[in-house]
């Protein structure tokens, strides 16, 4: 852009080169925007069931800790009843393993107790609990859509 300030007013003239450069810039910006939008489409994908109906409560004896892969949750049966914990480590998402009376994450070594509380980092927050209820025909249901504190039990 040429600036002519010989007179009192500044006159901006758009040279052909500046015009072409400007158009180039605008088209680059516009196409980058389009490319980002193009790449950002969220393909629908629901890999996990939102809830699952399992067996009768008797199938999970007192003291059992069972992995339910379809909903990525641990179903736990203790003195006070049944509850379910997410099996996804709250650090960066690996699936936790059952260790000695606790859960261990194989990725960076976080540990959680059976109530989902962090025993050892790097994870900073506890494992979320999912609702456990009985279906009409008396079978156990784990529902990921309803989060509950792990202290809430299904007492049978």
């Amino acid at each position: 852009m040429k600036i002519d300030n010989t007179g009192k007013h500044k006159i901006y003239t758009l040279t052909r080169r500046a015009f072409l450069n400007l158009s180039l810039l605008i088209s680059a910006a516009a196409s980058s925007w389009g490319i980002i939008k193009f790449l950002s489409y969220k393909a629908p994908e629901e890999r996990l069931l939102s809830f699952i109906t399992l067996n009768q409560p008797q199938a999970y004896h007192l003291g059992s800790v069972t992995y339910i892969r379809e909903v990525k949750a641990w179903l736990i049966h203790d003195q006070e009843g049944f509850y379910a914990l997410s099996s996804t480590c709250t650090h960066l998402g690996c699936t936790i393993n059952l260790g000695e009376e606790r859960f261990d994450c194989p990725c960076h070594g976080s540990q959680f107790d059976l109530a989902g509380r962090v025993l050892k980092g790097p994870a900073a927050s506890p494992l979320p609990g999912y609702q456990v209820r009985l279906s009409d025909d008396g079978r156990i249901v784990i529902d990921r859509r309803v989060s509950v504190p792990p202290s809430q039990r299904l007492d049978i």
């Binding site: 393909a43 960066l92 980092g121």
Partner: protein, 340 residues
């Protein structure tokens, strides 16, 4: 070789090369070997494309097929794998050579930056390549690596979306990684390598000492002879590694399974180790980005001297040399802690 018109490969070299710097013990041929490994990667990768199926259901099966059914498939996959692993080593050592001989100084600082981009591309190539196996072993590294993107403030979620293509890893992810691996990074690497080579010539050829004149020179034919020998040696090593230590492959990835243990690809084990000891954003994103920035800033911040070019361990470049050595040693130590 007494030809009037040099052939194309010869033509890529300067007609005369300073004897000391043209010798194997100045560059150790590391840049050249990296180029040659990339050539192997391109060729074997092109062949694998004929059988590889980029879909969550079939990817792992198609790699099994290449490995166990297709004639010479095991060899081709093995060479592709080992060329990729060696490339990480040779580019790192090449960078070390460049820094220890002060070859990043003055007009070569742009080429240093181009090299740093190539180093990043090499790592991304390698990581996306591992992901294409779509097996148990890589699935957790893939999960952690992509979840790490989400921790970046403001743009994290959008970046995750662009990398993964959905709200979680799946069909879309493998197609995207495939696209980047065989097309995106290949184009970027191609452009940057041509530029890198062009800069070497443009910056007056390979860096050399400026004090001892007259410089003794050799003709390019001599250099080309050494290069051809190096290519034979590298090819033999690749074939031997491919046959004796074939790359691993476990069963199809299933993120609903419980992993027994989960280890990142070897060149990212240091990040995995860092992640165990603190905030994910700091350990997994900020520290690696900081190290990369430090590397890139070598000619602009750590050593802006014009002297010491071509001198091993030149004293003007001490700070730069120590920084790069410290970075490499820390990464090695972190890796060893995790592995041992």
């Amino acid at each position: 070789m007494k030809r009037k018109r040099p052939n194309f490969y010869l033509h890529l070299h300067s007609p005369k090369i300073p004897k000391r710097e043209g010798s194997f013990f100045y560059t150790f041929g590391l840049g050249g070997i990296s180029m040659f490994l990339l050539l192997w990667l391109g060729l074997t990768g092109l062949l694998e494309v004929f059988y590889y199926i980029p879909s969550a259901a079939d990817a792992n099966r198609s790699v099994q097929m290449i490995t166990f059914l297709i004639p010479y498939g095991k060899l081709i996959r093995g060479i592709h794998y080992w060329a990729g692993q060696l490339l990480v080593v040779t580019t790192t050592l090449h960078m070390l050579r460049v820094v220890l001989t002060g070859s990043y100084k003055a007009q070569r600082s742009l080429n240093w930056l181009l090299g740093a981009v190539l180093l990043v591309v090499v790592l991304l190539f390698n990581f996306t390549g591992y992901a294409l196996r779509w097996d148990e072993d890589i699935s957790w590294a893939l999960l952690v690596g992509t979840n790490l993107i989400k921790t970046i403030p403001l743009i994290g979620d959008s970046l995750y979306q662009i990398a993964v293509g959905s709200s979680s890893i799946g069909e879309q992810t493998i197609v995207r990684f495939y696209g980047w691996h065989i097309y995106g990074f290949a184009i970027i690497a191609g452009i940057f390598i041509v530029w890198h080579m062009f800069r070497v010539r443009r910056d007056g050829g390979i860096s050399s000492r400026q004090d001892d004149y007259p410089v003794e020179k050799i003709t390019r034919d001599e250099l080309v002879e050494i290069e051809i020998l190096a290519m034979f040696v590298v090819s033999i090593i690749l074939i031997a590694l491919a046959l004796l230590l074939p790359p691993s492959l476990s069963g199809p990835a299933d993120l609903n399974n419980i992993p027994e243990d989960a280890t990142a690809p070897w060149f990212f084990i240091w990040v995995q180790q860092l992640l165990g000891s603190g905030d994910p954003l700091v350990m997994g994103v900020l520290i690696p980005v900081f190290l990369l920035a430090l590397i890139m800033l070598v000619p602009f911040l750590l050593d802006r001297n014009q002297s010491g070019i071509g001198v091993w361990f030149n004293k003007e470049g001490r700070l730069a040399q120590i920084t790069i050595i410290l970075i490499i040693v820390s990464i090695l130590i972190l890796t060893l802690i995790k592995v041992l």
